[in-house]
């Protein structure tokens, strides 16, 4: 054994008494904390006002004080990670109407771990074989609708399964066989597929196939957090770092008790599994829980009204420039947030790089590109005092470009 060999090679140092008065040395010699540093300017990092959204590449969302407090408090003590997942998972599950839950390193991680749990069950050997399913006796196919195959299903493929895409309910029934491990549904693509939630679940139940739904960015409404459990999905995946404003590298996998237990077999702190690289630490787990609590306790309607009022301020400023149109665009299922499209009459305003100008201005502002050179603006990631700045900057750029 490793340790034993190491033991043999070591001379054993007699120690007791070898150091005399050790009182002062015992005190920590940790270097004095450095001066408070502005990490952003130290690294020359561009920070920006986020009028775009909680996109991963834009570093998600900003955590509320509650989440930061949780991180600070959690950082002070050692505890067992399994304990944290057990206890926090149970609280999250009860908030979400789920049997069980765990915190993951994002929604993608939740997809992978949920998939791995379905494949391995309670068998650690099987867990260690993922993603090499051939000859392992592990089921190897996942069925989804063609319209739902949008790139995130790559997470499932990382576990070694083949994706079988179908269009109609009939095709779905035909595709089910003894290798079918799971039926996967992406909520935000629901309107694009022929088969809706209820029918998907009904067919799955009939054939006793576990179901998973990905609703990564489908908050608000907050009711989505429990709606799909109530409907009967076996596993639900959601991102923690978007509208919920938990740590960016967190997500939640919630659902059936046996499947969550199996998923945890594939996750840290255990090794020899597909999930070991998807670490979440105790600070993140606690912070996500606090963020979730806060999110659920927030007055959704009041918040929505605030977002619309902010949109109004920006819309008013933009459309005060002659030739500019500012319209709220229809809501989608994903990122279901009031979004303002700002476009302009190109004969009156010569501007083809408004988004870039805003990015390169001071302060830097990120917006989304819209159709035909227009821009899309959201207000949910803005701090209160940033609303007017965004409105003014947009107005200035448009005014400057007037013919």
């Amino acid at each position: 054994m490793k340790r034993r060999e190491i033991l043999k090679t070591l001379t054993m140092l007699p120690l007791a008494g070898s150091i005399g008065n050790s009182g002062s040395i015992v005190q920590s010699v940790q270097a004095a904390p450095l001066l408070k540093r502005d990490v952003f300017s130290e690294f020359g990092l561009r920070t920006f006002i986020n009028a775009s959204g909680y996109f991963t590449s834009l570093s998600g969302s900003l955590m509320h004080e509650e989440a930061l407090d949780a991180i600070r408090d959690a950082s002070k003590h050692f505890c067992r990670l399994e304990d944290v997942q057990d206890k926090v998972g149970a609280r999250i599950a009860s908030l979400l109407h789920a049997e069980s839950a765990m915190v993951t390193a994002g929604a993608f991680s939740a997809l992978m771990l949920g998939m791995a749990g379905v494949l391995s069950g309670n068998d650690a050997k099987k867990a260690s074989q993922i993603p090499f399913l051939e000859g392992s006796g592990i089921k190897s196919e996942v069925i989804l609708q063609k319209a739902h195959n949008d790139g995130y299903a790559h997470a499932l493929k990382n576990c070694g399964v083949k994706l079988i895409t179908v269009t109609t309910a009939k095709e779905l029934e035909n595709a089910i066989n003894e290798n079918t491990a799971m039926m996967y549904f992406i909520n935000y693509q629901a309107t694009l597929g022929e088969i809706q939630h209820a029918e998907w679940l009904k067919i799955a139940k009939k054939h006793k196939i576990p179901t998973m739904i990905d609703m990564a960015a489908d908050l608000p409404p907050k009711e989505n957090l429990w709606k799909f459990h109530d409907m009967g999905f076996d596993l639900v995946c959601v991102s923690g770092g978007k509208f919920m404003r938990g740590p960016q590298s967190t997500g939640i996998l919630s659902g059936k008790k046996d499947l969550i237990a199996a998923a945890r077999l594939n996750a840290p702190p255990r090794g020899n599994n597909i999930g070991r690289g998807m670490k979440v630490n105790k600070e993140e787990i606690f912070a996500l829980y606090f963020a979730l609590e806060r999110f659920i306790n927030t007055d959704q309607d009041q918040e929505w009204k605030m977002l619309e009022d902010r949109i109004t301020v920006i819309a008013n400023a933009a459309s005060s420039v002659k030739g500019v149109k500012a319209k709220v665009i229809p809501l989608l299922l994903i990122n279901r947030i009031p979004t303002l499209n700002i476009s302009w009459d190109k004969s009156l305003i010569k501007l083809d790089n408004l988004a870039t100008n805003l990015r390169e201005g001071n302060p830097s502002i990120e917006v989304m590109g819209g159709p035909d050179g227009s821009i899309n603006v959201t207000t949910h990631m803005l701090k209160a005092d940033e609303v007017k700045i965004v409105a003014q900057r947009i107005k200035d750029e448009l005014t400057k470009a007037m013919v």
């Binding site: 920590s28 904390p33 570093s59 399994e82 609280r91 771990l113 997470a155 670490k279 209160a384």
Partner: protein, 409 residues
Amino acid sequence: MKRREILKSLTILPLAGSMTAAAAPLENVFSAIAPAAKRDLFAELGIRTFINAAGNYTVMSGSLMPADVMDAINTASKKFALIDDVQEKVGAKIAEICHAEAAMVTAGCWSALMLGMAGVLTGMDNKRVSQVPNLAGTGMKTEVILQTSHSAGYDHALTQAGVKLIKVETRAEVEAAINENTAMLWFLNREVHKGQIKHEEWLEIGKKYNLPTMIDIAADVPPVENLWKFNDMGFDLVVISGGKAMRGPQSSGILMGKKKYVAAALLSNNPRGGIGRGQKVNKEEILGMYAALHRFVNLDHQKEWQMWEAKIALIANAITSIDGVKTETFIPPTDNNMPTLKVTWDSSKIKLTNIEMGERLRQGNPSVEVISWEAPNTIRCGMHVLEAGEEKIVAARLKEELLKASVKS
């Protein structure tokens, strides 16, 4: 469908002017919620906290982040920045400190192993990035060679990128195993004493056959010099954990080495899709990792070492006079290379198994974790994870349990 109805019912709303004075509602609705009373989340959730006299174990939540790291996390949380920007700028600084061409922060050492492997396989080819780990028929190489004795469980991370592990013992076996499918030569620093082939020879073989090399030094600092030693030696990729002796966020690690491989590894990582998307690190962790590294390289390591020895002496002094108890310093030679206190006892004089001792310390108040699973009638205590003053509590608790189990003569 409800959604469809919603969509249909939504005409594009003309907005300008529809609201008058909107100033008040602009205030964040959140500010209306009074901050909750300060909560003790461990107590609230019934989670046992403990004095860690064991070590930087993942199950025990790694290490405690020092003030510098927490400050970085806190500052990083206040503003938006591009994740790519953060990785690029922080990576450059880390690379400079560690004598590497490039570096990136990963979600732990395992993640660094997997992403480094993926980078070697894909290069800068996005199509290949989307194909990993299903390598068959893609034209990507499929085999990694390592020494049998280095196959200690962590090599599993490489297989997640789709490769097969080819295990060898001798140099002749390595050379025989190398073929056109060989993607990389992998070395686990911790097991260097057990393998026939040492660092230099491994690198020499890699150079001879023009194969990239990766070394895993997950828990192998201190000594601090290990941070750059293997880059200086010529390994193409070096991976290390951030949440152990360096005391960065537990879910962080570093992948560093040749620019072309690190750049390629970033393609498989968040914020992009691909095999690493599930291994998210956020800007707080990336900057926290850097702060930890910065602190670690600037520490007075000699003083740290003396402090650990002094703590060992304090605990040892408290218990060596107990009949049947022996104490000694044990320094793991490669990983976790820091002095620990090894306590052994004569089972005829002290009626207590090592497992029972571990359990009693765990159940005591305050709860204390030690390494109690290694050998009969033996426990080991790590000093580098103790907070100031905790060594006295550990000494008292050990003494108490040893005396309680002593056979009265």
